[in-house]
């Protein structure tokens, strides 16, 4: 069944306190070489039949992500 993977991350100009908290923990664990962490969301959609890319893009850009604060990336996976 075709799968669509949607990754959502905060825009670079929006501060990400959760990512910063993870970065702080990494520093305490001795991983000093990590410069920054940005946390996001990962969606996997299973699609019946042939995926309609325009429709999926609309779903990703209007519901899965909030375009005011988030960027979205869409990948079609067929197996």
């Amino acid at each position: 069944m075709p799968e669509v993977v949607v990754d959502v991350v905060l825009k670079p100009e929006i501060s990400d306190p959760q990512g910063q908290a993870v970065l702080g923990a990494l520093g305490r664990l001795g991983h000093s070489g990590i410069r920054s962490v940005r946390q996001g969301k990962h969606f996997v959609l299973e699609v019946d039949g042939e995926p309609d890319e325009a429709e999926l893009r609309q779903i990703a850009e209007t519901l899965l992500a909030n375009p005011v604060i988030e960027d979205v990336e869409l990948q079609l996976r067929t197996n």
Binding site: I14, P17, L64, N66, I69
Partner: protein, 224 residues
Amino acid sequence: MRIGVITFPGSLDDVDAARAVRLAGGEPVALWHGDDELAGVDAVVLPGGFSYGDYLRAGAIAARAPLMRSVIDRASEGLPVLGICNGFQVLCEAGLLPGALTRNSHLHFRNRDQGLLVERADTAWTSSFTTGQQIVVPVKNGEGRYVAADADLDRLEGEGRVVVRYVGGNPNGSSRDIAGVASEDGRVVGLMPHPEHAVEELTGPGTDGLGFFTSVLAALVVAA
């Protein structure tokens, strides 16, 4: 005057909002998010809480609820709409107000009595105040940090659409201390603090919050 209060699955402050409407002299009307019609109400309040468990993003799924289609339609015709806390998040997600609300910069839930500066006393929900008046109402949120692109913030400031601003400390890292904003026509207002929790001396820090509800009743009388 009939003021609708919409309950979503996960709303918490709908009863307090209805009570505030009643104390201000209005008639609260309970509305359900799954309804199609607004039952002829004269204004609508979207209350605080965690609609749909704040899944996806706070307010994101509630903004697509059936009744919200009517709210969006009627707002374009001037229906006064007030979004409090989660209700503000819903209004931003629905595109009725600009910007977005995201995780507090310090990552903590913040719950306290909060000073606010009223910068717009000519919206449908703030006419009982005077410009420059300072009020105190409770704030309680984990995702209350107001953000928007710098250009959009400049435009909002230029158009005078910042309704209330935090004073005496910013509880969540909101851009430019913004606590609440209005639509272009001043009929739709959203704010993170909770005026419905400051309507009686017994249960709140004072009665400053009542002004939001008396304002809309006055606006409706003028319109009628």
